[in-house]
């Protein structure tokens, strides 16, 4: 193995690590469902069927994957700067509320204008939300992981206050909500399939941001900041501007995920926005190893796992939480597997005498 090119060796190792992670996860999950009284082979077959087995399940999978892609960007973009943001849920919620508010204010204008307004409001609100946390990090040294965690709670409290007070629709009794944005203003489905436009938003956002970080001087500067902030400052890079821009883009992506939930799924903002998509987004970002191009397939994979939950429930009477157990196991083994990196094909130092 020592004759292998170092780049190739690293790539082979990555592939092997991913395969090992999935195999070990599969074995543990098989033991788990067997202990719960379900046949593992049947469960795996159902996960495949429910996720990718038919055009119907593909559509279900892709619909679920859309918010995951956008939410994952909220962690993956700041990771370029070496920062760990976990405020995906909060930015998503704030974006959803802003989109609903914009939809209500603009009601009566042409649907396309309303949709653009909702998109802009969600992006700006989510963007400022996370950019604010990174500003605190840059100017005051406030840890961005903890501050964005706290911001999640503030966002949820703001949502509950707004839907119960200033933006309350008196007709929504059991579940306080904003008024509806109007069915004409809803994001429809992509022509030819029953998957809403959120999927296109997610794929396009990942592609554009991948290009931005891969092929522009901005992306190069961000990489240098991620490598060494002091070196970046000494080289005269606009660290503050780049940090805040990355924060804004990250938050905007999650905010748009909230807009998609409001404008394509619920039609109004309410507690349903707090569905844990933000936390799945963190998992997607880590599983994609913070690689923007990998977010799309990983989000589809996790969307598929979630989509198969219904089938598992019907066939084997396994609870909803089965897919959560699978996700959690996968996440933990993936992180633990990182410790094997560099050990599978170690570089051997040959001593010459």
């Amino acid at each position: 193995m020592t004759s292998l090119h170092p780049g190739l060796r690293a790539a082979a190792e990555s592939v092997l690590l991913i395969v090992m992670t999935f195999v070990v996860t599969g074995v543990l999950f098989a033991l788990f469902v067997a202990a719960a009284g379900a046949p593992p082979s049947g469960v795996f077959y159902d996960i495949y069927l429910g996720a990718f087995g038919s055009w119907f399940s593909w559509q279900n999978t892709l619909t679920r994957a859309a918010p995951f892609m956008l939410a994952a960007l909220c962690t993956a973009l700041p990771a370029r700067l070496g920062l760990l943001v976990i405020g995906n849920e909060g930015a998503l919620v704030i974006g959803g509320v802003a989109a609903a508010a914009a939809g209500i204010v603009l009601n009566g204008v042409a649907p396309l204008a309303v949709q653009i307004g909702m998109f802009a409001a969600a992006g700006i609100a989510g963007g400022l939300w996370i950019a604010g946390a990174l500003a605190l990090r840059h100017y005051r040294g406030v840890n961005e992981t903890i501050s964005t965690l706290l911001l999640n709670y503030l966002a949820i409290a703001l949502l509950l206050w707004l839907v119960g007070g200033p933006l309350h629709d008196p007709a929504s009794l059991n579940k306080p909500s904003t008024p509806s944005i109007g069915s004409a203003n809803m994001l429809g489905d992509i022509p030819g399939m029953s998957v809403h436009w959120g999927l296109v938003y997610g794929v396009v956002a990942c592609a554009l941001l991948f290009g931005l970080f891969r092929y522009t001087t901005f992306g190069f500067a961000a990489r240098i900041i991620g490598g060494n902030v002091r070196a970046a400052q000494l080289n005269g890079l606009a660290v503050a501007r780049i940090t805040l821009t990355v924060g804004f883009l990250a938050g905007a992506a999650a905010g748009v995920a909230g807009m998609v939930e409001v404008a394509a799924v619920h039609g109004r903002a309410n507690e349903s926005l707090v569905a844990g998509y933000g936390y799945v987004g963190i998992l997607v970002a880590f599983l994609a190893r913070q690689n923007l191009a990998m977010i799309v397939p990983v989000a589809i994979l996790l969307g598929g796992i979630e989509a198969s939950g219904g089938l598992l429930q019907r066939h084997f009477e396994l609870p909803d939480a089965t897919t959560t157990v699978l996700q959690g196991t996968l996440f933990i083994l993936l992180l633990a597997g990182e410790s094997l990196r560099g050990r599978i094909f170690p570089i051997r130092v040959v001593e010459r005498s």
């Binding site: 976990i86 040294g141 706290l150 949820i156 936390y279 939480a321 157990v325 996440f331 933990i332 633990a336």
Partner: protein, 311 residues
């Protein structure tokens, strides 16, 4: 607080006191657990999963055996195992502590919902309360001062933990490991082992916090049982400046803030109380902004803690 309504506005402070005592116990245990873990330089963001698993385990054991105290012990055991898993994985090289915490949170919540599915209907034996308000004729006062033994244990534990950190060999070892890995190694302390033990013990405390939720207040098992007390532990410990006794005060404050909404509602103030519920997070954020600096570690934090900008 149904009784608070008869007292009019006077019911608000009483309901706050009652709420603070009643809702603070889970906060107290998770924050003491997190404090212990963070003192040794690790951060465990997965206590939410531990808390929910603890709640489910305690309820299941209490239902099967009829003894709520066995349930509490079982919850502590499950918490110990989950903490040890976190401690072990974080002991491996190149592993992101924060991400492991989030992963364990997802797994713990998932496992608890999976295994707890059959427990939603049946009712398990509950922990008894201790009535400290028998001197009063007012039912509202009696209800407010009906405290749980776990609360008393938690209060004692806070003082014991503060004493351990301040005046014992073990406490000194934990603080040394938390402040500087290198200094700890230089004096011959096993950094990995101490961190593994503090994370495991911290998990056990979080598990006990969970048992309070299912066995006393709210006192049943369902999927909406936890309102994020486990995730809040990290905020609470920062708010309490890594001091177990301040964790007690912070828990009372966070618990009281949660009770403010329903208390105000009972006297007719119905809007805006979600903002009061969020006040502790805003306060914590403000404390962080005030005490952080670009040039040095967060004031009062263990030097080797991974949330410091310098590490």
């Amino acid at each position: 607080m149904e009784h608070a309504a008869d007292l009019g506005w006077w019911g608000v402070p009483l309901a706050l006191l009652a709420g603070a005592i009643r809702s603070s116990t889970p906060f107290l245990f998770v924050s003491l657990g997190e404090c212990l873990t963070e003192k040794s330089g690790r951060i465990n963001l997965g206590l939410e999963g531990t808390l929910v698993m603890g709640a489910m385990t305690a309820y299941a054991i209490s239902f099967v055996t009829g003894s709520p105290w066995l349930g509490v012990i079982g919850a502590a055991g499950v918490g110990l195992i989950m903490g040890a898993v976190h401690g072990f994985i974080c002991g491996l090289p190149r592993v992101n502590h924060i991400a492991v915490g989030i992963a364990l949170m997802i797994l713990g919540v998932g496992l608890a919902f999976f295994l707890g599915k059959p427990l939603i209907q049946p009712s398990a034996a509950q922990l008894p309360g201790i009535s400290l308000g028998a001197w009063s004729d007012s039912r509202a006062v009696q209800a407010a001062l009906n405290v749980n033994a776990l609360f008393v244990i938690g209060v004692i534990l806070a003082f014991v933990m503060a004493w351990v950190f301040r005046s014992t060999r073990i406490g000194l070892a934990i603080r040394t490991v938390g402040d500087s890995r290198d200094a700890a190694r230089a004096v011959g302390l096993d950094v990995k082992r101490i961190r593994l033990l503090t994370t495991a013990a911290g998990g056990a405390l979080a598990g006990i916090g969970g048992s309070f939720l299912s066995l006393y207040y709210p006192g049943s098992w369902n999927e909406g049982l936890s309102s994020g007390q486990g995730l809040m532990a990290v905020a609470l410990v920062i708010f309490a400046r890594w001091d177990p006794i301040k964790c007690l005060y912070a828990s009372l404050l966070f618990g009281g803030a949660g009770a403010l909404g329903p208390a105000l509602q009972s006297v007719g103030v119905s809007t805006g109380y979600y903002l009061f519920n969020a006040a502790p997070y805003l306060l914590t954020l403000m404390v962080m902004v005030a005490s952080s600096s670009r040039d040095r570690a967060l004031a009062g934090a263990p030097g080797d803690l991974s949330i410091n900008a310098s590490s």
